[in-house]
């Protein structure tokens, strides 16, 4: 439904003194979002997320590369054709961008007015949309009278007014509190489910990706560095940045006093401290007690967590392996052979 191929965007800023200076906001980005899916793009601020999503409906024109939406090559359209194509692409924003001088009803009606639709057809379309987002009773109020979550609902109704195939969400929940965020995400999921609308969203919140996305791309410094199923991304991110996002999200970092005691290289009297990540069958296998029996290694659990990511279960654990160097090495090999991801965080002095 959405296809970006080799899309680059370079800004030129004129710095006084040292001539023009190029900023590569997007570098050769390739992305395919199949019809009916929800695709998330996650990255830190300044990574190029906003530029990426704006290249889809050409609010930003790519410096090179092509953008295709619903089989139509956006980058080759005339202005008039581009405006028609934009009617098929809805967009919502972090700061809602509702017109303050229009009532809720008139805000939702705006895209239809722009398309030149008749007053009564506008009405027939707007009322059910307001009912869908649960704001039918607020039709005559003005945006200033609404809460953040309600404003975003109005913005969603407005984005859907022209019956788009695609919905672009630009940090749609970043300005909202956690409860409101989850209700908005639920609404987006329903829209995807019931209307079959393809959603591309950008965010810096793993929670958003976890709760509604099917696939996720990781963007870093203008490049898409990772693209995977959400379940895979949460169980085994392939890049360092992906792991950082995940650890940050799961808040599974070793306690501070342990970090202070950690040393990089093993010595005679140290134990390895490992981070174990396990998913699928491994979650339900009693691996720790088997480790004790089969390798003679005792495991001291420092932190542990089980998360369910869509249909998959993800376990995480930080543990100290107590045994001789040969035994602990054996234990790690054993764990890896059971599809566990083992990451040695460091080594810690024996207490005894």
């Amino acid at each position: 439904m959405i296809e970006l191929s080799n899309v680059s965007k370079t800004y030129f800023s004129n710095n006084k003194g040292n001539g023009s200076h190029a900023i590569h906001a997007l570098k050769e980005a390739n992305l395919i979002v199949p019809k009916g899916t929800i695709h998330g793009v996650i990255g830190l601020s300044g990574a190029g997320k906003s530029t990426l999503i704006r290249c889809v409906n050409l609010l930003e024109r790519p410096t090179s590369g092509t953008v295709t939406v619903d089989g139509q090559e956006m980058t080759s359209l005339s202005n008039a054709a581009l405006n028609r194509a934009r009617h098929r692409i809805g967009m919502i924003f972090q700061h809602f961008n509702l017109l303050t001088t229009r009532s809720v009803f008139d805000n939702v009606a705006l895209p239809l007015e722009l398309m030149g639709q008749k007053r009564h057809t506008v009405r027939e379309r707007v009322i059910p949309l307001l009912e869908m987002v649960g704001l039918a009773d607020k039709a005559d109020q003005y945006p200033a009278q609404l809460s953040g979550g309600q404003k975003q609902r109005v913005a969603i109704a407005r984005a859907l007014a022209s019956k788009p195939q695609v919905l672009l969400c630009d940090e749609a929940t970043s300005a909202l509190d956690p409860q409101t965020t989850s209700s908005i995400l639920e609404l987006l999921r329903d829209i995807n489910h019931q209307l079959g609308i393809t959603i591309l969203l950008i965010t810096h919140e793993m929670e958003v990706v976890k709760s509604i996305c099917h696939r996720v791309s990781l963007i870093s410094d203008g490049e898409l560095v990772e693209d995977s199923e959400v379940g895979d991304f949460f169980t085994a991110p392939r890049t360092q940045l992906g792991r950082e996002f995940l650890n940050d999200f799961l808040q599974l970092t070793p306690p501070k006093e342990l970090i202070e005691r950690l040393v990089d290289t093993p010595r005679d009297n140290t134990h390895p401290v490992v981070r174990l990540t396990f998913s699928g069958d491994a979650v339900s296998t009693p691996l720790i007690s088997r480790l004790a029996r089969e390798c003679g290694v005792d495991v001291s659990i420092l932190q542990a967590k089980v998360e369910s990511i869509q249909e998959r279960t993800l376990g995480l654990m930080i543990a100290e392996l107590l045994g001789t160097p040969t035994q602990t090495q054996q234990a790690m090999t054993y764990l890896e052979s059971h599809q566990l991801q083992v990451e040695v965080l460091g080594h810690v002095q024996r207490n005894d």
């Binding site: 409906n57 609010l59 202005n79 581009l82 405006n83 028609r84 194509a85 934009r86 009617h87 692409i89 809805g90 967009m91 924003f93 700061h95 961008n97 017109l99 303050t100 001088t101 229009r102 705006l110 895209p111 007015e113 722009l114 398309m115 003005y142 945006p143 200033a144 407005r158 022209s162 672009l168």
Partner: protein, 217 residues
């Protein structure tokens, strides 16, 4: 005070109102589109035309920088060509209008500046043409600010119209100078000033009311 005097004051009040109304109306009709042009032709705006923008900006600045009293005298030939005479309230309305156009344009531009760029972006994402953005987003969203600007313009025109007396323009300023100052009649002077004060208060209150009505923020 003689009834002839009262008639004179009444007539002068109407003359001032007439000059403010005519020049206010025409300068709005020209200044509003000019202000919009100044805004939308800026670099990276919806109708970016940097050269045209520079040109309009320079012309506007020139208009804003000529002292009104000089402008009034300088354009007498133009005034005569337009209304057939260089004295009277119609003649005075010409320089008042010319002076107010760039004033209105800059105030409109400033009002448009207050609109969040996100709103323009949202309208573009909906497939709005530049013309639709101007009519359905920019002007309605800047309505409060534009109303404030027009109020400032009306008040400024009241005080400028007083200067029109210098070229035989008529109105309260003219009356105040000829009867109050030249013939040393403090009563007339005081009355004209009081009427001007009331008039300015009236315009300001009306403007404030309209701004309040149009503002939904």
């Amino acid at each position: 005070m003689s009834s002839a005097m009262i008639d004179l004051i009444l007539q002068a009040t109407l003359d001032t109102l007439y000059m403010v109304a005519v020049s206010g109306l025409i300068s709005t009709l020209v200044g509003l589109p000019l202000g919009v042009m100044l805004y939308v032709t800026r670099p990276r705006q919806i109708l970016a035309k940097p050269v045209l923008n520079q040109l309009l900006s320079i012309i506007t600045n020139i208009g804003r920088s000529i002292p009104f009293i000089i402008l009034m005298v300088a354009i007498i030939p133009f005034t005569r060509m337009l209304v057939g005479t260089s004295i009277g309230i119609n003649a005075a309305s010409v320089p008042l209008t010319i002076a107010a156009i760039p004033f209105v344009a800059r105030l409109v531009e400033a009002a448009l500046n207050e609109i969040s760029p996100g709103l323009i972006e949202a309208a573009q994402a909906m497939g709005a043409t530049p013309w639709q953005i101007i009519c359905k987003v920019l002007i309605p969203e800047a309505r409060g600010g534009i109303m404030t600007g027009l109020t400032i313009t009306a008040v400024t025109l009241v005080s400028y119209s007083a200067m029109a007396g210098a070229v035989g323009g008529g109105g309260l300023g003219d009356l105040g100078i000829r009867y109050g100052y030249n013939r040393f009649n403090p009563t007339i002077m005081l009355i004209t000033v009081v009427i001007l004060v009331v008039m300015v208060q009236g315009f300001q209150s009306l403007g404030d009311y309209l701004v309040r009505k149009s503002d939904r923020k």
